[in-house]
């Protein structure tokens, strides 16, 4: 594979990790949603590039879905939701931004150290994609546990799915089943999330997960 193709793929995958870091320190909802749109845009560029260099036209579909659904439709919907809920001001992080970033750096180092030796035989492209994908996945998990707000947790989860798409396209020739499934699941997940968010608002007038803990069916 020629050098340039590899470098560009590397650029996009690395960019995705960078945007994952940016998601970690956003303390405003609007900024967070915009950042997620950027995340989805980078993943769709990355997938489109993979489609081009692997000569796998079906991957363009995955790229298009990522672009339309996750970079445009979902962010627009989320903007509406956060305005309706009146939470477009700030979000609190459970741990300080400094610690979260340090933990994030640790996770990226971990995933690089785990993935690179294991995938050594799989080819440079796959090797790097998987290391980056695992980083994105772990950063998404970190985001989910460090945020309390339901919308930010959902965004954390969707960033995990972006990481998975990167991994799935990095694995050369993986059958279409998975690409469709990933897109499909995102769509369903969105419906579920929408339903949930509206119900939660309807019942609690808040989307702060902490408000959910008042009753756990365990009164003495």
């Amino acid at each position: 594979m020629d050098r340039l193709a590899l470098d560009v793929a590397h650029l996009f995958a690395g960019g995705l990790v960078l945007v994952s870091f940016m998601l970690l320190y956003q303390d405003r909802m609007t900024g967070l949603v915009n950042n997620f749109a950027l995340h989805a845009l980078v993943v769709s560029l990355s997938v489109a590039w993979q489609a081009y260099i692997q000569h796998a036209p079906h991957l363009y579909i995955t790229a298009a879905i990522a672009l339309v659904v996750k970079a445009i439709v979902i962010p627009l919907a989320l903007h509406r939701i956060i305005v309706q809920l009146g939470i477009h001001r700030t979000i609190e992080a459970v741990v300080g931004i400094g610690q979260t970033m340090l933990a994030g750096i640790g996770l990226v180092a971990l995933s690089v150290m785990v993935m690179l030796p294991i995938t050594a035989k799989a080819g440079t492209l796959t090797q790097q994609d998987l290391a980056f994908a695992l980083s994105v996945l772990l950063l998404g998990l970190l985001m989910m546990i460090s945020r309390r707000n339901a919308v930010s947790q959902v965004i954390g989860f969707m960033s995990i799915e972006n990481g998975l798409i990167l991994a799935a396209t990095g694995a050369k020739g993986m059958p279409l089943v998975v690409e469709i499934s990933v897109a499909f699941s995102i769509l369903i997940a969105l419906i579920v999330i929408g339903v949930f968010l509206f119900r939660i608002r309807e019942r609690f007038d808040t989307v702060d997960i902490h408000a959910l803990h008042e009753y756990r069916g365990e009164r003495p």
Binding site: L130, M144, P175, V195, F196, I200, R216, G217, E218
Partner: protein, 482 residues
């Protein structure tokens, strides 16, 4: 696709799918409950035919000795639960907890869940199985939240978040398995097919397989409800409609465990990969110990049986982790009996909670006096699940403990301790629930006792006399599991 067997494989998938669509649009309440039962029954019949008529493995679907056990069990409990669901839902409609619109949604989701589980069990493709398990998870999330009370929403949200993270980890593991396979098998569907994976596994890169199994065990382990990934399970059991608690415990946990077992056999076929057994043994043991102690402090009856499910999934995972023909046999039989017993207990509990109007255990007393059939049914069920002889679960737990004793005595002591602690907790609670002066409403329950009695009869029969043909079959399957 002209073999007779493939028609029935198709039927097992198409009947639930079509009836889900029908149930989503049909307006009449009574007819839909009946249609739900009918669809579940037909699916069960089609599944039993798979025992004898079996198509050769296709690219997407496969029927082999292992999954046919799961599929028959799954469709049987699906059928009996639909019968129970009919009477349960009628009561919910009367009391206004569910509206007709929600009921339509409920029935459609029930059949979609059946479809998802059957597809997961029948799939010959790791990716397809992943999609099916995700589908089953999403439908149960929606059903857990169906009452829309704060508690139900919290339970559904927790389940949704933890379940999705689990499923995401499992997908990463699946991708790694494909990577390990594709350098040997070549690109395309073959590198994701079960039968190919198990066959060619010795040539795979062990390091990749190791990492993949870790992700798969954590991912699908979340769905099995193994400690420390279990946080969603008690809430989801307590807050959803009781038929859903019954299928969750009886079926969906098994389906996730089935996925782990499939990947375990891929792992064990590779000489370079680490042995998956010890990991499963530790997670299983941890679940048994944790859940049995947690059983003591429960006040909600459905939550308590949710914890009991964690305990039993722990026992089953432990048994499969031990491996070997005897432990596998005991694990397989234990899984079957646990499904039957636990779903029957939930049938009883569902009716009890309806007549008493509460799930809060201190408010429920003297059931054997006020509702003899339900009360004694619960006594029988709890005795069976706690592992009293002569019921089947006593036998399988005995088998698991003794075979462990022969190989790793220390583990057997720990497991035995967990079992005893859980036993004590269940009997303690049962005493309060079933005996003493009746408390709460004494009105008669309009219940369907047939599913409860059918399950209990099977559990009792399994403890007293297991037909030799069945024993031979289970032994055969246990031998296949590596």
């Amino acid at each position: 696709m002209t073999e007779p067997g493939s028609v029935f494989v198709g039927a097992v998938l198409i009947i639930p799918a079509v009836s889900a669509a029908l149930l989503a649009v049909l307006p009449d309440n009574r007819a839909t409950a009946r249609l739900n039962v009918l669809a579940a029954f037909l699916t069960f019949i089609a599944a039993t035919v798979l025992f004898v008529e079996r198509p050769s493995p296709g690219r997407y679907l496969i029927v082999d000795d292992l999954n046919v056990v799961f599929i028959v069990l799954s469709t049987f409990v699906g059928f009996t639960t639909s019968v129970f669901s009919g009477s349960y839902i009628a009561h919910e409609l009367e009391t206004g907890r569910l509206t007709p619109t929600y009921l339509r949604f409920y029935h459609a989701m029930y059949q979609t869940l059946m479809f998802g589980m059957n597809l997961a069990l029948l799939s010959n493709n790791v990716g397809l199985m992943w999609v099916a398990i995700e589908l089953a998870t999403l439908t149960t999330v929606l059903m857990v939240g169906i009452y829309r009370t704060p508690a139900a929403l919290e339970a559904a949200w927790k389940y949704f978040l933890l379940g999705s993270v689990g499923i995401a980890l499992a997908l990463f593991g699946t991708i790694l398995v494909y990577l390990a396979a594709h350098s040997v098998v070549g690109e395309g569907l073959d590198a994701m097919a079960w039968n190919v994976l198990v066959q060619r596994s010795p040539e795979f890169d062990p390091a990749l397989l190791n990492l993949a199994f870790l992700f798969l065990l954590l991912g699908y382990g979340t769905k099995v409800g193994l400690v420390p990934l279990h946080a969603w399970l008690p809430d989801a059991h307590a807050e959803g409609p009781t038929p859903i608690s019954a299928v969750l415990s009886g079926l969906l946990l098994n389906v996730a465990l089935f996925a782990v077992l499939r990947f375990k056999s891929v792992m064990s076929a590779n000489p370079g990969a680490f042995a998956p057994g010890p990991l499963m043994v530790s997670l299983g043991l941890l679940s048994v110990i944790f859940a049995s102690f947690m059983l003591y402090r429960r006040h909600d009856i459905k939550r308590m049986f949710g914890y009991s499910s964690i305990e039993h999934m722990g026992i089953i995972t432990f048994a499969f982790g031990m491996g070997g023909p005897l432990a596998n046999f005991a694990g397989l039989l234990h899984m079957t009996l646990h499904s039957l017993t636990k779903s029957a207990i939930f049938f009883c509990v569902g009716h009890i909670a309806q007549v008493k109007g509460t799930q809060h255990m201190p408010d429920i007393r003297g059931l054997t006096v006020s509702h003899p059939v339900l009360g004694w049914g619960l006594v029988f069920g709890v005795a069976a699940i706690a592992g009293l002889p002569p019921m089947g679960i006593f036998m399988t737990e005995f088998l698991i403990v003794t075979t462990t004793f022969a190989r790793y005595p220390v583990l057997a002591v720990v497991l035995g301790l967990g079992l005893l602690v859980g036993f004590g907790a269940l009997l303690l609670r049962l005493n309060g629930l079933a005996f003493g002066d009746p408390r709460g409403s004494g009105e008669a329950a309009r219940a369907s006792f047939v599913p409860v009695l059918a399950h209990f009869a099977l559990v009792l029969a399994a403890g007293i006399w297991l037909p030799p043909a069945l024993t031979a079959w289970f032994q055969h399957v246990a031998g296949l599991l590596r």
